[in-house]
Homo-oligomer: 403 residues x 2
């Protein structure tokens, strides 16, 4: 019997405890022994809960318990999660986390402490919820020279975009609906401004290159400025609009990472990923394209990823699993040099000027319901050239097109 503790008895932490009870038989059968949640750290009490007698308010109770060999950190946020994780790893207690904020900020440091102490810092649940992506990148893709990652990494925004597309409603209305359904927080900024997706693509990019991609270095745009008219044009072009985290390494050694809304052509499998589902598309030089698809959030899917990490730790006592992620900062290429085609909406009066301003511009017919504006798709150009061409034009909005 492997004994574990949970830090933070919220949605995910509660899911971990429930999952371990619910799937006791499957876990015992595959692990060869049981998992037992011995202690749960939370500020609150949970009178009446079947876990009430295991709640503690003092992290020392867990740290000093020699029977506890694995901790699930499902608190979120940097502190006290960072201090607790660090202390546990220093004692050789493995930590399995869903905390992307902490992983993005302190991942390589905590991995190094785990290595030194013969235990593990695992974070499958920090990206893509229940989707296996961190472990496949560390294992299945270990022989690969990974050259690109594109991911729908945030379920809240994907739900909002799906509703805008199918119901023809605006951003504010779709956001309100998402909040009513519990898919979006009261304060939705971290999701809709792209910060959550940005942390996740920074983590995946770090695993891709083996060094640290700082999320602060990643250009980040959210979806709050995407309009109903953008979707009308996208539909006419048989494309979807998705908030993506992207990471691209080219043969000249450029390394571009970005979070932004993109036009996604129907031929790309990400096109049909809808609602709260997430998907990550990875290209390796020999395996070619892989896609991993599933629920990117939610109590049980996220808890499942945490418990899969717990089982990995329990199967490998005293053994640190491989994860190439060095603290050295990865210098990203100048985002102004990245090349895209751009979908641009402008004031109707700008039509002629715009056609001449953008190299290779293709004017688009206005779809039903769109008046007073014009739109075009540019040829491939750098961000810098695009900014220069846009100067002096009344650009209403623009969206990059996926390669």
């Amino acid at each position: 019997m492997t004994q574990i503790a949970i830090l933070g008895f919220g949605t995910v932490g509660g899911g971990v405890a429930e999952l371990i009870d619910l799937n006791r038989k499957a876990i015992e059968s595959r692990l060869g022994e049981g998992l037992y949640v011995k202690r749960i750290l939370d500020l609150r009490d949970f009178p009446g809960s079947p876990y009430a007698d295991r709640i503690t308010h003092d992290f020392e109770d867990i740290l000093s318990d020699p029977e506890i060999s694995i901790i699930c950190e499902t608190m979120g946020g940097k502190e006290p999660a960072y201090t607790f994780s660090r202390k546990a790893l220093e004692r050789g207690i493995s930590v399995c986390t869903s905390n992307k904020e902490l992983v993005a900020a302190h991942g390589p440091e905590l991995l190094e402490i785990a290595r030194k102490n013969g235990c593990n810092y695992l974070f499958e649940a920090s990206v893509g919820g229940g989707i296996p992506i961190i472990r496949p990148m560390n294992t299945s893709m270990a022989p690969e020279d990974i050259t690109s990652i594109m991911g729908i990494l945030n379920g809240t925004t994907n739900y909002i975009m799906t509703r805008m597309e199918h119901a023809g409603i605006g951003f504010e209305e779709a956001l309100k609906e998402a909040q009513e359904k519990g898919y979006a927080e009261r304060n939705p900024e971290a999701d809709v401004e792209g910060h959550d997706a940005c942390r996740k693509i920074a983590i995946l990019s770090s695993l891709m290159c083996g060094r640290t991609v700082r999320y602060e270095d990643v250009p980040c745009e959210g979806i709050s400025s995407v309009t109903v008219n953008d979707f009308r044009y996208a539909r006419a072009m048989q494309m979807a609009i998705k908030l993506l985290g992207t990471s691209k390494r080219d043969s000249e050694g450029n390394f571009f990472v970005r979070t932004a809304p993109y036009l996604v052509p129907a031929s790309n499998p990400l096109h049909s990923v809808e609602d709260v589902f997430n998907a990550v598309y990875v290209h390796g030089n020999t395996v070619d394209d892989l896609m991993f698809y599933g629920r990117g959030a939610g109590k049980f899917p996220t808890a499942s990823a945490v418990v899969s990490d717990v089982i990995d730790c329990a199967r490998n006592p005293g053994h640190t699993l491989a994860c190439k992620w060095e603290p050295e900062i990865m210098k990203l290429s100048d985002p102004a040099e990245e090349v895209f085609r751009y979908f641009v909406r402008l004031d109707k009066a700008e039509e002629k000027k715009a056609a001449a301003a953008y190299a290779g511009a293709m004017m688009l017919e206005a779809p039903e319901g769109v008046t007073g504006e014009c739109a075009l798709l540019t040829g491939p150009m750098t961000e810098k050239a695009f900014s220069e061409a846009s100067a002096g034009l009344q650009v209403l909005s623009f969206i990059r097109m996926l390669g």
Copy 2:
């Protein structure tokens, strides 16, 4: 430096050697040391090849070399692959294989020998080519009660079906095209009659239940009887036709496994998996739906899966990785009791009789180009009830609809 040997220097075996050279830097960086192909077993010589001096015709050269700790078995077929794998594992040499025929026939026995000798029998490349699916089932899905698997598991047939759908050509013509492109063998029986997909779903089903699903027990239908008219109706219903391996465990303890062509609705992500791509859709009780997508065959994608297993072995010397697959035979439920809706084409003269014969039948309008026949979609019914209802009717063809 970990030294390995390759058995069988054909497409996949050659790919393994080339990949290890091509991605030397990525592999060394993630593994922390290099991989070196010391010996290659083949009946042929390869004069002029950079590997010519490492070729041997005698397996004993490999078996008796104490420096070789891992073998890649890429010969295919049962013998001598079985004897060689067995002998290697008995000496504590790990075996990584792409040989689905051998894994389906002797998987649990070879796994047991590996366990007893502290080494590994790994077979990621045996299902889905480059797609990570075996390892995720053993690790990421370890906490899950897996209730269903549906997979496009054969690239050859998926290519043929894609061509029939988009080019409107018949089976024979599409097969010929696939052969010309090198996607289908001269003798295409194992692919088009579903035997290859059947072995793969038997392997996945075994991992799903932890016991042995014998492929001989799995009802198996191929695609050679699917016609252009089937695709015309499918398109009118906005469905695709795909050869699937399916595995389903219901709450009453029934366990159904099958290989057959299915109608796949547009809402299912498998609908848009085209050409030689494969995809596996897995449902776990807490993680919900996951899908894994990528190239299901080909030299480098398959070699990449083999090398990922080699890296797993090299990272875990003396440690047998977890894989729950017992030799005990899993008794499958009577396939006649599985419930489906059926798409049925009949002679035009049967229209009235057919409408009455099938419970809940919905008559379908004939799409353009279809004459002299009628078609319907039945309500949900068991295979047995469907056979009984079909008796005495001139059924031209039928296809099951995916759930």
